[in-house]
């Protein structure tokens, strides 16, 4: 009986499919990665156990850096356009098209109205190094933050229809002095806006605390 020789199967596998998957994922990640827009100031927010997400749309964001400078920003280019045009006509800022465009596509602004033209004239890099942006004034005699909020609300009404959906977020640095925060809160209070959102980072709930126990109970129910 001659032995029947079993032909050896090669151990080479076809890698084409694997390669396809790899590159599909790669392209997905490359396309889905959005780089953060360049913020004028670096802010390190404190952490909390809250898990509520920062809303994407209809947001007014006030950024406060550690020196207590307040920057204003709003989402949506049409809204920003409306806002800056209203401010331009009512406060006679004398902005030109280029500056209006700059505000539309830019990030936060933190300056008083008289320097707004100068600030919007600069490029992002120039703004970072310039000392012009000293934050939005919030003194009781000259509360420009209140004006910004008012105009933002009316821009929201003009473009979306009503301002009830607007969320007001405060993103402040760990070392921001409390009096600055208090001024902002008081400004909102005067405007009869009571619901605010503070932007924080996520941290774990401490073990054994009431919140952690409650979360455990909720999970057990499901």
């Amino acid at each position: 009986m001659p032995k029947i020789k079993m032909p050896r199967k090669s151990t080479l596998i076809d890698m084409t499919a694997m390669c396809d998957v790899a590159f599909l994922l790669l392209t997905f990640f490359m396309l889905a990665t959005k780089f953060k827009p360049d913020e004028p100031v670096a802010v390190v927010t404190p952490s909390s156990i809250n898990t509520q997400l920062l809303p994407d749309s209809d947001v007014i964001l006030l950024t406060v850096d550690k020196d207590g400078r307040v920057f204003f920003s709003m989402d949506g280019q049409p809204k920003r356009k409306q806002l800056i045009e209203d401010l331009n006509t009512n406060f006679k800022l004398g902005l030109e098209d280029k500056e209006i465009r700059n505000f539309m596509v830019g990030s936060s602004v933190g300056t008083d109205f008289k320097n707004l033209k100068k600030v919007l004239d600069m490029t992002a890099d120039e703004r970072k190094n310039s000392k012009v942006e000293t934050g939005i004034p919030m003194d009781s005699t000259n509360n420009e933050l209140a004006i910004w909020i008012d105009y933002a609300r009316s821009a929201q009404v003009a473009t979306v229809g009503n301002a009830n959906k607007l969320k007001y977020c405060i993103k402040a640095d760990n070392d921001t002095p409390y009096p600055v925060i208090k001024k902002i809160l008081d400004t909102f209070k005067e405007k009869k806006i009571q619901k605010l959102n503070l932007v924080t980072n996520l941290e774990a709930k401490p073990a054994g605390s009431a919140a952690a126990i409650f979360e455990q109970q909720e999970q057990d129910k499901q």
């Binding site: 199967k9 090669s10 596998i13 076809d14 890698m15 084409t16 694997m18 390669c19 790899a22 590159f23 994922l25 790669l26 990640f29 490359m30 889905a32 990665t33 927010t45 404190p46 952490s47 909390s48 156990i49 809250n50 898990t51 509520q52 997400l53 920062l54 809303p55 406060v64 977020c169 993103k171 402040a172 640095d173 760990n174 070392d175 921001t176 002095p177 409390y178 009096p179 600055v180 925060i181 208090k182 809160l185 909102f188 209070k189 806006i193 009571q194 619901k195 605010l196 959102n197 503070l198 932007v199 924080t200 980072n201 996520l202 709930k205 401490p206 605390s209 009431a210 919140a211 409650f214």
Partner: protein
């Protein structure tokens, strides 16, 4: 193994003639896959999918009318004050009783540390108040009054609000600090040697 038919002949023409030896056009894809996955892992690790979270802050209404203001009982209240250098001060009640507040042990200082800090104070007070009964016979809720002094930072403020969430305190309010409170903080700071 499924093999790709790389011949350009259309249709399955199986000629049983002599087979010309064709060099395989298959390329070893392994390094390509390696590279692909390397890039993917790099992107996955550098991409932060996490979005910033937010914390709700509901400010109390400004009311001038007496009857609209929420009355807080002295027995269910805990007042927490934020000072400079991450210091926390607290006293039980609302400091409306001069006899109680003249007691040297009335005004206490603590820190944000996880153990024997402000958290334990809040928990202790919460459980004490839960043993009290209101006129309907239901357990009372503790009310925390938060007062931040000018020397405190935003971080202290958020940390304290976070403590409220951690210990599930339902009722708390941020209130303006009084001159009396400032004076207490000042004298406590001098005695504790905080500049």
């Amino acid at each position: 193994m499924a093999e790709m038919d790389t011949s350009s002949k259309g249709g399955g023409k199986h000629d049983k003639g002599t087979k010309s030896k064709k060099l395989s056009t298959r390329v070893d894809m392994t390094p390509m896959v390696d590279l692909g996955f390397l890039l993917i892992t790099f992107f996955m690790l550098t991409t932060t999918m996490s979005k910033p979270k937010t914390m709700d802050l509901i400010m109390p209404k400004e009311t001038e009318k007496e009857e609209e203001q929420n009355k807080v009982k002295e027995s269910t209240a805990l007042t927490i004050l934020l000072g400079k250098k991450d210091q926390v001060y607290y006293y039980e009640g609302l400091a409306q009783d001069p006899n109680a507040s003249s007691n040297p042990d009335f005004f206490k200082a603590t820190t944000f540390s996880n153990t024997s800090g402000i958290r334990d104070v809040i928990i202790k007070k919460r459980d004490e108040v839960a043993r009290l009964r209101n006129y309907k016979g239901e357990p009372e809720d503790v009310v925390v009054i938060i007062k931040a002094d000018d020397g405190s930072t935003y971080k202290n403020f958020v940390d304290l609000l976070d403590e409220m969430a951690i210990n599930r305190i339902q009722r708390y309010a941020t209130v303006d600090i009084s001159d009396q409170d400032k004076q207490w903080i000042k004298s406590t700071e001098t005695s504790n040697g905080i500049q």
